[in-house]
């Protein structure tokens, strides 16, 4: 069965989640014995097309259009639908990034497709597509099967590894997309902090702070440790609700779900809804004053102590290591 994967990009750059989706889709192409079609959307796509080489794509469709420079649900939808028609793909794959969480259901509705969102594993056995996906913010894992075709699958960022893969040759094909009057919701501008902050869902290391940090000003210690490790700053719901940190940093059920290689929880007791958001991290370190804090049951390594004292020492020791 032929597969179509959408490779996410922004501002002329491939997103890491885009190549992860390619690797997830390549696995499905191998299992189904089909061709892997991929789609890039935007302007000046040639440079990005070169970067896609070596990831196992058989056929790359390039949807270039000035109106597709920025994301819009309707513009990207039209490009996807054109690519589905061109490729004859029965299975559409993309990342469950912010963009994919919006575009996936949009496309699935138009295709009258089965929709399997935010998957952490995908299998195809005897003609049946089966995925696993965290539900209840990771407190349960659902095994879900498609019972109809076509199907749209989104893959949770960092659940699939972008892996180089040789194929005979990647064919490139321009894809024409007709957008006449289709784009009604249009992006006017993009607001971002200087230097595009690393997001908790994309970082290999996340250093999070909770109420035990005692005040917004002490998050400087968290920021220093995160910077030393090249990671992102996270926060518990309590400190976001107290307005010490922005909501974009919140890890947990009403915030973001993260699976970094290293998660360091500082002054976080470990409420169920927080643990749900970070329990799939590879290695968890907890620093907390209270030896009975539930976070220690989930952590691989714990230090019982005041985060305000432990953090500077940890930052210093890690700096010396490098």
């Amino acid at each position: 069965m032929d597969i179509l994967v959408y490779i996410e990009s922004r501002g002329g750059k491939l997103r890491a989640a885009g190549l992860e989706a390619v690797s997830g889709a390549r696995k499905l192409a191998d299992l189904t014995g089909g061709k892997l079609n991929a789609l890039l959307i935007g302007t000046s796509l040639d440079a990005m097309a070169g970067e896609v080489e070596g990831y196992g794509v058989d056929r790359l469709l390039l949807a270039e259009h000035p109106d597709l420079e920025n994301y819009s649900p309707e513009g990207h939808r039209e490009a996807l639908l054109a690519a589905v028609q061109e490729s004859g793909a029965k299975l559409v794959v993309m990342s469950a990034s912010a963009l994919g969480r919006d575009l996936g259901p949009t496309v699935a509705a138009r295709l009258d497709a089965a929709f399997l969102p935010d998957c952490i594993s995908v299998e195809y056995v005897e003609g049946r597509l089966t995925v696993t996906r965290p539900v209840y913010a990771g407190r349960c894992i659902m095994t879900l099967a498609a019972t109809a075709w076509p199907a749209v699958v989104t893959l949770r960022p960092k659940a699939f590894l972008a892996a180089p893969r040789e194929v005979a040759a990647m064919e490139r094909l321009p894809l024409s997309v007709s957008l006449d009057g289709k784009i009604r919701a249009r992006m006017l501008e993009f607001l971002t902090e200087a230097g595009e902050k690393l997001d908790v869902t994309e970082a290999d290391t996340v250093v999070s702070g909770g109420r035990g940090m005692k005040g917004a000003e002490n998050f400087q210690l968290i920021e220093e440790l995160a910077e030393t490790l090249g990671g992102a700053v996270g926060a518990s719901r309590a400190v976001v609700d107290a307005e010490w940190r922005p909501h974009s940093e919140q890890v947990g059920q009403t915030g973001k779900l993260v699976s970094p290689t290293l998660y360091i929880a500082c002054g976080i007791s470990g409420a169920i809804q927080h643990l749900a958001g970070m329990r799939s991290s590879k290695v968890i370190v907890a620093v907390n004053k209270d030896p009975e804090a539930p976070i220690f049951k989930t952590a691989d390594y714990g230090i019982v102590g005041d985060a305000m004292e432990v953090l500077p020492a940890l930052t210093k020791a890690l700096k010396e290591l490098n």
């Binding site: 309707e74 949009t106 935010d118 209840y136 407190r139 894992i141 199907a151 902050k197 169920i272």
Partner: protein, 248 residues
Amino acid sequence: MNIAVLVKLVPDTEASLKISGDRRYIDKSDVNLVLNPFDEYAVEEALRLRESHGGKVVVLSLGGDEAVKALRNSLAMGADEAIHLVTPTGLDIPGTAGALAGALRDKGFDLILAGKQAVDDDCGAVGPMVAEMLDIPHISTIVKLDVDGGELTAHREIETGIEVFRTSLPALVTAQKGLNEPRYASLKGIMMAKKKPVTTIEPEAVTARTEVVQLNYPPTRPPGKIVGEGVEAVPELVRLLKEEAKVV
């Protein structure tokens, strides 16, 4: 301005969950069920828009008898009317969206709001799907909304910042935390909610395109260790992270 809000009743985020005997559902008999937190932001935003632009707010929920609680909670916050869609058989995500779209079609709503996702199945798909089925534009995961004449401007939160979108009405938007601070229902609101109309609709059965095979608890993490106390434990922690876990 006529506004519709899609709401759902979900287990409390602090509840511990028990998987049913057939492993396909969460046993909700002992779980405290609440209005989905993201739907609270949607209801609040709708009420604020009604306060500034006039019109009415209609809330819709699809589910069994429990869905009525989500509707009553929304009515108690200040919504005017409610529609209860009784769960049809063969329900999956597109089926849910289809039933809701069916109830909303040709009803003259200028704006439809929903939470960005329900914190039970975490799909976040029903909002955009309903918009597509109604053929109206949508903007998801918004943290700011301005409605002006026949247009709206919304701030959509993504990984690296905020995308500012503009579109014409009618449109659908989904609410992210940060959009507003939801009000608590007043005692008067709760009393009045009991008298507000709740219409019941029975959507047609649909053919599901997906099937839940089973639910499992996530793999338990192997027990960790307390490295030590205070600053003295730092060198040992760094050694373990480097030599044992190999992550620094």
